[in-house]
Amino acid sequence: MAHTLDAVLEGCRRGRPSAQRALYDQLAYRLMGVCLRYCPSRAEAEDALQLTFVKIFTRLDQFRGQGPFEAWARRIAVTTSLNLWHQHQLRGPQVEPDEAAELHHPDGTPFDQLSADDLVALINTLPPGYRAVLNLYAIEGYTHAEIGELLGISEGTSKSQLSRARRLLEDKILAQANSSPYHD
């Protein structure tokens, strides 16, 4: 598999469309999931995925093989999605963090009753800032310092937004679970 991926990457470095297509087929599904978690809409996630692969193909020489290639690609997808999110913020109205902070948060994390799609849909209902911090910290494994640098916020802000995001998500998950027809 690794040998196959190396061959594909070498072909991509040479600009071969067939290799680029092979890499796209291999990564597009999961990277689309990354983009969907950060972008406010599917259309923007598709734009982010497209830009992600353009960056991957044009900056492939920057990949030194010091880690898994997919991790490098996911990082590009995350930063690309965040850039689009920033641009979306600059263009249109957004949910202010203070509004979301008023929501209370119950305890409990009933993930088992939710599919991944439902869970992502719930995450996408979070305020963009919260959603980004939650995704970066919980899913991607970034530290608060890295999140602060990436989003241009302080570490304290990152921590507080993460805490609020978790509570909001728990509320939504609980509400979703309570409204589910399979919930007893």
Binding site: A28, M32, Q50, H86, Q87, L90, A116, L151, R166
Partner: protein, 515 residues
Amino acid sequence: MTERESKEFYDDLRRKLEEYGSPPPESVWAGIRQQVPNRRRRWWRGALLVLLLVGTVSYLTISTRTQRPTPISTPAAVATVSPGAQADASVSSGSSSRPQSAAAQAPSTGLSPNTGAAPSLATPETQPGTNVATQETAPTASRQADRGLIAGRLTDPTGKAPRQVLAPDSATQPQSEASGATLAATSTTSEGRKQHKARAGVALVVLPKQYPNPTRRQIPAASLETTYAEPTNKETHPEQEAAKNLTAGLSSEGAAYGSSSLPTNQTTLFGGRLLPLLVRLQLPGLPLPRPTAVLVPEVRQPQPIKPNWAIQALGGPTVSYRKLGANVRRVEQLERPAAGYGMQLGVARTLTPRLSLSVGVGYTEVAASLYLRLQKADSVPLVITRLRDYYRLLTVPMEAHYLLGATTRWRYGVQAGVAPALLLSARTTEGGACNCQQQQWQPSDSTRRFRQLNLTLTAGAFVGYQAAPGLWLTLRPQAQYFLNSITDPTSGRAARHPWSVGVQGGISFDLPFKP
């Protein structure tokens, strides 16, 4: 919620979404293909390089043939030498093209192969019809034997033999009459052979300084040509005899050779192809004086090629920017100049001594840069992006060059012209949804964002240095301006007229003149 509970929540969340994904639509891949440059299309760069290389080699081949001195043979010398002396006469004959036949034509010279210089001074019988150069000689053979020091080296048949002069202190010697042996060696060129017309060479004889009344005589070329022009003239002059004697002497053992060239204006008497010669003979029993001066120090300059057609290859960096029309978007106002480049390969035709026209094929890139700092409302910098927009075009430069001044080595002038430019590709920020994402454009795109066919105006100056005959190193500071907007007027974008300034350097080959 405790810290542990939070950690469990995040772990559950990560596990749940670890393999989360979604199949993207096919349009995403189409968009990727549109934006990713296809490196395979750069084959033309290699082709251009090969073309340049082939052109250079071709020119050098042609140039070498044109510049190479025409082989000179001395049929008269061969004619006066007995066949047995051929082996020793490889230099004196000056030609190996037809030595046997030449010798056969004039076998009777009264010389033996190993007779040395003394026999060469004996007056041989002149064979009727023998091509002999006419020249003045010393009155007697004995005086020649006393004083004769004939400098010169005849060129080998291919004309490749190095020419040098060994003339003892002769440059300062006054010319006097009939006291030294003066020799004219007849010569033919390959061209002359083809035309069945004899050509004559010139040789000088110089006496050493220690001999009184030294003489250095230069044979009037016109008289030589006259003699050769009438090969059937059976009248034998003393000069002819002396010439034959000395020529025969060249074939003898112990001869020392040197050679030189005459001024160009003398060579023109022989069709501009003849290389005059100096011949020096060392007679037996006489010490060979050391050369103390060069008789003809002038280095023979290759005949300048009269330019008619020229091939030129140029390339260099530019600084490019743009002139915008109305309805300029904010992001376009943020553009800054950027580095680009241009190159061209073409031919030039000289119309008048000062005016020439050129046409060719070129490739140019004009660009603009963007330095964006995307900020939130609280002025905290979020994203710093450096972007470079470019337009790559295939051009057909058609220029007029006016020569303002020139020397042997240098020339300079001004130039102006137009160049139809075909837009090959572009990468711009114009079409992005947020104005900060670049998009690739190619002619196959359905969107009519740019004009594919454009017209540019170029103007500038040029300076050239002739590194070798016909080979010019050229520098061209020039400016280029798009006469039309490169953006399509129906796209709603602001009119954009890219321009650039830069310096192109390269080489230019003057092809051999063909009237």
